[in-house]
């Protein structure tokens, strides 16, 4: 079940919210857990038992770790927990990739293939295994006390707004919000309304911008590169650049919005990443929860910035981005994408940032945008050869006039405005007005009506998507 489906918007969500609000505070977590299990089981009816079973097991391993008397015992349980979580991730996400590569090597050597039945990737596994790791690490490090109740831990992991596509919420960011009575007391009607606004904005980003522009991007990117001219190639990758941002950030907005409606405060996951003035800046703004995780649980344990040599620093950065690329998908293209970003990060530390300082803001934004857009080629075209041919096409500079539908032009303009608006002082004021400034009744009324209209438009677009009836069937 996805947030932008009729079933979720008009059935699951209202039934969940009504049930949640009428339930006494001390039982609200039961409601969350039941609906979250149903939400996950809807799309993964078999795997839900695996996630429930492993989280149960993991909870008790962490409890044993916290109750250990010696540091060796503690470390042993830590390793067991991390191995379970990473093991799950590696098996379900990377075993196919691993076997495919081994078979490639074996076939090159003229040896027999390994027979392997492909494993199906359970939805959301990349997100919740990272969260379970934050739980064991944060409790190991003493950052926060562990939960005393296994059901509260299930609520933390299974909380459906973030379960299948993030944001990745570190345990200590959510620990103090799990207790339902205190959470309910702190939650205000403003939170609920702002939650709805955030949800509606996220849904609109996904449905009005991402889905519409995605059709155009797919049309171009599914063609053979040889059939494209440079203009089409650039339009296609720019369209995809916008699509991936509005799709992903839209989903995060919806998650943050729903959480707010039920009293949870999730951290931000995107901060206008296309206004970045460098790749370093980009990774402070894009998918913040993953970069934050990588920083706290991989980069810092590797030494972070406090390593002895620059060489070791660059190696750590590069490794973190390689793993980050691999986390996004089990394919060499994702690894290349990660390495591509890691390389630019290192180059910026070496000299690029100093070079950028001599340039104006908008030039830096444009350069960063182009670097990011080219990187998305590897993300979108999962075949390395196709990606290289496409990039070659971008730089052939054989531009030919293209016929674009009015609707696509309209959406591209909207996407461009909303991607770069906050680079202007006017844009920052608009953002503050909607996201940070105080809401009086008049403002609430205007914003509410506007977003209700947007919501109706979104539902209409979802309902009509791909609906092209015939005048009659022949029979």
């Amino acid at each position: 079940m996805v947030f932008s489906s009729i079933l979720f918007l008009l059935y699951f969500l209202p039934i969940f919210l009504i049930t949640y609000y009428v339930t006494p505070a001390r039982f609200k977590n039961v409601v969350i857990l039941v609906f979250s299990i149903f939400f996950y089981a809807w799309g993964a009816p078999k795997f839900v038992f695996v996630i429930l079973g492993t989280t149960f097991f993991d909870f008790y391993v962490v409890r044993l770790m916290c109750n250990s008397k010696t540091s060796i015992q503690k470390k042993t349980f830590l390793i067991i927990s991390i191995c379970i979580n990473l093991g799950l991730l590696c098996y379900f996400k990377y075993s196919n990739f691993f076997i495919d590569n081994v078979n490639y090597v074996l076939s090159s050597l003229g040896l027999e293939y390994i027979q392997w039945v492909k494993v199906i990737l359970p939805i959301g596994i990349s997100f919740y295994t990272f969260e379970t790791i934050t739980y064991v690490m944060d409790t190991y490090r003493g950052i926060h006390k562990p939960l005393t109740n296994v059901w509260d831990y299930q609520v933390y992991i299974m909380l459906f707004p973030k379960l299948i596509a993030g944001p990745i919420i570190r345990y200590h960011d959510l620990a103090d919000q799990i207790e339902p009575v205190s959470r309910t007391k702190k939650s205000t009607i403003d939170d609920k309304l702002l939650g709805f606004y955030r949800f509606a904005i996220g849904l609109s980003k996904k449905v009005i911008i991402a889905n519409q522009i995605g059709i155009f991007a797919d049309e171009i990117l599914s063609k053979n590169s040889a059939d494209l001219n440079s203009g089409e190639a650039w339009l296609g990758i720019i369209a995809y650049t916008f699509q991936i941002y509005f799709d992903f950030s839209g989903y995060s907005d919806m998650a943050i919005g729903i959480a707010k409606m039920i009293g949870f405060q999730f951290p931000e996951n995107f901060n206008n990443p296309y206004t970045s003035t460098s790749i370093t800046d980009f990774w402070r703004r894009w998918h913040i929860s993953v970069s934050s995780w990588m920083k706290n649980y991989l980069y810092i344990p590797l030494g972070g910035n406090k390593v002895a040599t620059k060489g070791r620093l660059y190696f750590n950065l590069w490794l973190v981005f390689l793993i980050s690329g691999l986390w996004h998908g089990a394919s060499w293209n994702f690894v290349i994408w990660g390495v591509y970003h890691g390389t630019f990060l290192i180059l910026e530390r070496q000299f690029l940032l100093q070079l950028y300082e001599k340039m104006g803001q908008w030039i830096r934004i444009l350069i960063t945008f182009i670097i990011v857009a080219i990187g998305w080629v590897f993300f979108r075209l999962e075949d390395f050869g196709s990606a290289c041919r496409f990039i070659q096409k971008l730089f052939e500079f054989n531009f030919v006039a293209i016929d674009i539908e009015a609707r696509v032009v309209c959406v591209l303009i909207i996407a461009t405005i909303f991607s770069f608006l906050t680079a202007t002082s006017f844009g920052k004021k608009v953002q503050d007005y909607f996201y940070f400034d105080r809401y009086g009744n008049v403002k609430h009324t205007i914003v509410f009506l506007l977003l209700i209209l947007l919501l109706i438009l979104d539902v209409s677009l979802i309902s009509a998507f791909g609906f092209n009836p015939f005048i009659y069937f022949r029979f």
Binding site: M1, S5, I6, L7, L9, L10, Y11, L13, P14, I15, L17, I18, W42, G43, P45, K46, I189, D190, K192, L193, F196, E405, A406, R407, C410, N441, H444, T445, F448, I452, L455, I456, L457, V459, S460, L461, I462, S463, A464, F467, N468, P469, F470, I471, Y472, F473, R474, F475
Partner: protein, 437 residues
């Protein structure tokens, strides 16, 4: 609680009420909207059971089913379509498009007008030769054969076709070649196209409409009257008369707005008014009521729907695209393989075959071929029919609710008053016919 808080709670409650409206608005009169128009594949909800749950088939079918089948799906689709139409001039209709001045077309009509679907003179000559054989054979059996050629909207309104569609040869087309051959072989036929073009600006009321794809309701009344006169003269009989005592002038409706309806907009695209004759059907007493078998496309189908068959014996049948069987004596349509087609042919007094220009290339959907094979070689079942029925039998053995749910079979069994096994056969006939399996 202060008034600000109360106001905000009201706003938030309104949000919950709005998103739950498909559930609570079902019984509300003010929230009843016109159904979605047009033909489309509607996802069948599979039965809920353990197997379907763990395979996720139930979930998939419910998610798809609910998009077009929730109480407010029609209005949501109309909002989206209206926005696309008003802002971007886009319409969402399979195989159709909007021409100049909002005249609606289907692609096939333009293809045929510009000869882009021309099948070649040899094929048409072969076809007409077989028509001739069938005609002559039926005459020997004291049955009349009539071929009816309906005009297409592309031929009638070429001036509204967009420039980008205008390529091909309007002189070398299926229509002109068939016309020549029908005359050459002496086929008994009525060609309505010259009459329509001649009277395009002279007719009292429009013969085609802006948002419709078929001839207008007014034109249908004229056509019915013409065909009846033709039958009477050719057979020296006196059929019950079809006439009209009054004509209502209204905005486009029924087939006059068939493409307009399928756009599923909030506001109609056409502001023009058209004529709707109030047809009067003479009683059968002291009149001749032959048994008629008519085979045709939706142009002849509109005549059937408008009461054309009320002049004939009630057991007369209309074979829509030579597949669906309709009759005033049946409560619902049948598939042609549910009855013995040759028996129907043998019992008919008059056989009418007809179509619009774009369906000439279909060559009567094997009707003439099957009748020809029967009369020339005694073949009672075509190879296609044999293989089709074998496939139906083998599909009946398939199990699994994602293939055919128990509720679907029971619905047919109850509706048609047949056994569950027969209902299964009927369902598979249609499933295979419409390419759903």
């Amino acid at each position: 609680m202060n008034s600000d808080k109360i106001y905000k709670r009201i706003l938030y409650t309104a949000f919950i009420i709005i998103i739950s409206c498909p559930v609570w608005s079902i019984k509300m009169k003010a929230m009843q909207f016109d159904k979605i128009q047009g033909s489309f594949k509607n996802t069948v909800l599979v039965d809920f059971n353990i197997e379907n749950w763990f395979s996720a088939d139930y979930q998939r079918s419910l998610e798809e089913h609910i998009v077009l089948n929730n109480h407010l799906s029609s209005i949501f689709i109309r909002i989206s379509n209206q926005i696309d139409y008003s802002l971007f001039n886009e319409v969402h209709i399979a195989k159709g498009f909007m021409g100049k001045d909002k005249y609606m077309y289907e692609h096939a009509y333009i293809e045929t007008y510009y000869g882009r679907d021309f099948v070649g003179e040899e094929k048409l000559r072969n076809y007409v030769r077989k028509i001739k054989f069938v005609q002559d054979t039926l005459r020997k059996l004291n049955k009349e054969f009539i071929y009816i050629q309906a005009p297409g909207k592309g031929s009638f309104f070429p001036e509204y076709i967009p420039e980008s569609f205008k390529y091909g040869n309007t002189e070398v087309t299926n229509y002109y070649t068939l016309k020549k051959l029908l005359d050459e072989y002496g086929i008994n036929h009525i060609d309505f196209r010259p009459y329509f073009l001649e009277n395009k600006y002279k007719s009292k009321y429009p013969l085609f409409t802006q948002p419709g794809i078929h001839w207008s309701k007014y034109a249908m009344a004229l056509v019915m009257d013409s065909i009846n006169n033709f039958i009477e003269k050719g057979n020296n009989i006196d059929l019950p008369e079809i006439s009209w005592d009054n004509v209502d002038i209204e905005y486009a409706k029924y087939e006059d707005n068939d493409l307009g309806d399928v756009l599923n907009l909030i506001f109609p695209i056409s502001s023009e008014k058209y004529a709707y004759p109030r047809l009067v059907f003479e009683p059968h007493k002291n009149k001749d009521t032959p048994k008629v078998l008519m085979v045709g496309d939706s142009y002849l189908g509109t005549l059937y729907e408008d009461g054309f068959y009320r002049s004939f014996d009630s057991t007369s049948q209309f074979w829509f695209y030579n597949t669906s069987v309709l009759s005033l004596s049946f409560p619902h349509k049948l598939h042609k393989y549910q009855l013995k087609q040759l028996d129907v042919l043998r019992k008919s007094d008059i056989v009418i075959l007809g179509c619009a220009e774009h369906n000439i290339e279909g060559q009567s959907w094997s009707f003439i071929e099957n009748v020809y094979q029967y009369y020339a070689y005694g073949k009672t079942m075509s190879a296609y029919e044999i293989s089709f029925m074998k496939k139906v039998d083998s599909c009946k053995g398939l199990s699994g609710n994602e293939i055919l749910s128990t509720s679907e079979i029971k619905e047919i069994s109850d509706d048609q008053g047949v056994s569950m096994d027969s209902a299964k056969t009927i369902k598979w006939l249609w499933k295979l016919e419409t390419g759903q399996y």
